[in-house]
Symmetry: D2
Subunit: 266 residues, 4 copies
């Protein structure tokens, strides 16, 4: 009947009710990253065919908190910031596909529905969670500075259970913001078949990365990490065998789509 | 590498981290339904090809609140009820496809991530919202009874804006719980293409209905409805031109998959 | 200037902005109670002068979840149920004052501001928390019945940490709903002095109980209890040394004030 | 029995379960302020005896959003920031007492329980609400800068209804951050009598201001304000008759008690 408009659901003739506007999507935010090594066998448990463990340092894990403000090209969300601000925590490993090393988000929790919808599109396996990370501020009465001795905490909970908390104490400037989340992402976009017990109706391996990425000076420091168990999570299986380091930086990002690598449609 | 398990994302070798367990999914809950007529042109705005307006009473709309407890076959979620209870409000119209009348959920808001994930699977266009509906109780100090004179309110908000509120005053027993939500559902399951500006990567029209459905005595009554505007919603375009009626009932439901009607994969 | 109206703050000439309406306050709800014995020395840690340990069974503790709908005499909150429904979990011990045994709520978590305001008035030490308890329903697809074999879970979290969870399996009808929460409450209402380091500006021991109390058939059963630690809570100091039992019942309550026992105003 | 410790409730022998730690309380945060004139008669409705309208500009109102990080002297809350971060929106008018001009917070909404507890102590009439304000960021992909042309939005909701939203467009540096919230606060601390229908058990007029206050460069700009009605709020009675201006600044604050002005204890 009608020609329906809108990037994702619900689509309507007017196209203003959609859960998320058209890309490109714009982001400004703060990233707190901790990197450590776990047993590579635990990483392998999370890599479906045709992905393989990365050749180098295959047990490296990044646990990242991000405090975001985001918007569409109209920037209208910035003036009604319940539609712009969200927090997330996510876990990234690396993997190998067709001889190339990719980053891959294996777990992620966010606190807004538009962020979930973007994740469905981008292949991030987003659940709802409650995330908190210390904020830097020019006045230090109740805030750290981004600089030597600055101490930042970050916590993750879901299902009314604490899943992780970390403390990062900044020591010095860093040339990098870590290496685990530094490649293009290799993600699966899946849709189970609608018939009871049927195989996936859609299963696509895609790759994407920021169309634009700016980063301030990164800082590195010392890290404490605690992971906690939950009956509905497997985060604590990625045991912390050796801490690599922790990083703090501020970034600006634009995301505008990715590329299909393989696509299985029964 | 690994064989990954889990109905939906994130899939892992253990298969316990998934956002939603395998169907069948079980539900017990209370439904508050109000039905009214709007301009059929406004319903048409929400029906993509090949769906057409229903032949009879094409402007009929049902606005439904549900207070659910749900679980998988293991019933384990019932003992950790943050994983079992959720509330929703949704808008149903009817449409015609291949000569048959279907119900179709055009807008829906829920308050848990597992409910969103089910919606992605079932084609319900779920956003997060805040829903409240009066609960009946055997002690009437602060509750209505399900019976003559029982008064129930229900409200819907999203993005920190009130979108709808209704008051239902029960009058008498009813043979039906309304008619708008009484058919099998015809829903689209879509996934936008990952390349910037590309067409949908997946677009499937499916049909589904409860595998099992039990209903208690339905009651009908008088209704007041208010719809409010929001820059990110179109609910108030479905203006209330004529009230049909309101209904209250308690139900038990099992959902276990549906059927594909048409599938477009570029 | 103006004559200000309203039971509690903020008071205004119109008197409609107050955080909580005038008593009497009306409640309909479901109570899930577990009772156990801890070391009486741990109860004593929570009893300020002039309260003493109860003469009999001084280590008895009740951990109670309640799923409430509540309203003022106008009942208007029932039609905008975000203002009527709330959940709580609370811990009750007994104590002795002037030769009489009282119940005393030592910890309590709620999820609405009007419930906090009532607590300030009634001497309940209310914090915000996230509480969930399994709901009975006439349709058993995803719910227990209140009867033999009915299994109910309840959980408590605050500060993004799980503090307690219990499972109650109903066995048989019970003459009582437990005994720990069965007396009038003896609570302190306090206001610290506004000068830095000054003593309390107000410190009153009050007693209160329901002005009206109706109860359905109570059921008792078997109980599992887990308490968890938190840096800002002491609930887990009330270790579960011996389980007494668990109870489920539905109630209707009216509260309309209490009585002052002792009052210290510097 | 025991000597109980803790600034406010619940008090225990260990003193670690209290809802809020001992002052001094430390704050770092961003303030978005809009000032306007309303009918002074509407301000008078909010001033109990012995407060009178301010002599100059008695209808001036400040509507302020604050995005805070706060902690005790131990700074431990900063590492578990669910205990440190909160948002608030509040309405300030001025009044006269004993020949001196004071600021007075007449309405305030916060989103954490420790903030409510501080309000009970300080005489701020705190309710729970949902507040959002645009955040500045060094990367402008999805954020304004604090500088000419920077556009900030702020919204307030409570009870699932939008109560206010504003847009502030910065124009130039400002010597002040407005004048309405620039005096010591004159607040009432009240506790209704516990007997049904009795007068206040405690009613104290106190004055307090920051023990330490640092402010960055303030910016001023142009303002749009919308106030919305709610059955449980009176904010929209403070109609916007004339806009004075809008301000943005970052601050660091220490609060460490106040002084009693008058005290009524029956």
């Amino acid at each position: 009947m009608a020609t329906l408009n809108g990037f994702f659901y619900p689509r309507t003739e007017l196209g203003t009710a959609g859960i998320v506007p058209n890309p490109p999507w714009y982001y400004s935010g703060d990233l707190l990253t901790v990197e450590y090594r776990t047993d590579p066998a635990r990483v392998r448990e999370l890599l479906p065919e045709p992905l393989e463990l990365a050749d180098e340092d295959p047990g490296a894990v990044a646990l990242i908190w991000a405090d975001w403000q985001s918007c569409s090209g109209s920037r209208e969300e910035l003036l009604d910031p319940v539609r712009a601000q969200y927090k997330e925590a996510f876990v990234v490993v690396r993997c190998s596909y067709a001889g190339q090393t990719f980053s891959r988000c294996v777990y992620i929790w966010v606190d807004k529905d538009f962020a979930i919808a973007r994740g469905i599109h981008q292949g991030y396996p987003k659940k709802l969670g409650s995330m908190w990370q210390t904020r830097p501020h020019p006045f230090l009465q109740a805030a750290p500075a981004i600089g030597p001795g600055g101490v930042f905490g970050a916590t993750l909970a879901a299902g009314d259970r604490r899943l992780a908390d970390v403390v990062l104490t900044l020591r010095e400037e860093s040339d990098t913001n870590g290496f685990v989340n530094g490649h293009a992402m290799a993600h699966h976009r899946i849709l189970p078949g609608i018939e009871a017990g049927s195989p996936d109706a859609y299963n696509e391996l895609i790759s994407s990365q920021g169309a634009e990425f700016e980063r301030g000076q990164a800082w590195k420091g010392d890290v404490d990490i605690n992971l906690y168990s939950s009956p509905t999570e497997e985060l604590d299986r990625l045991t912390v065998d050796e801490i690599i380091g922790g990083y703090y930086c501020q970034v600006g990002v634009v995301w505008n789509g990715g590329h299909s690598l393989t696509r299985l449609v029964p």
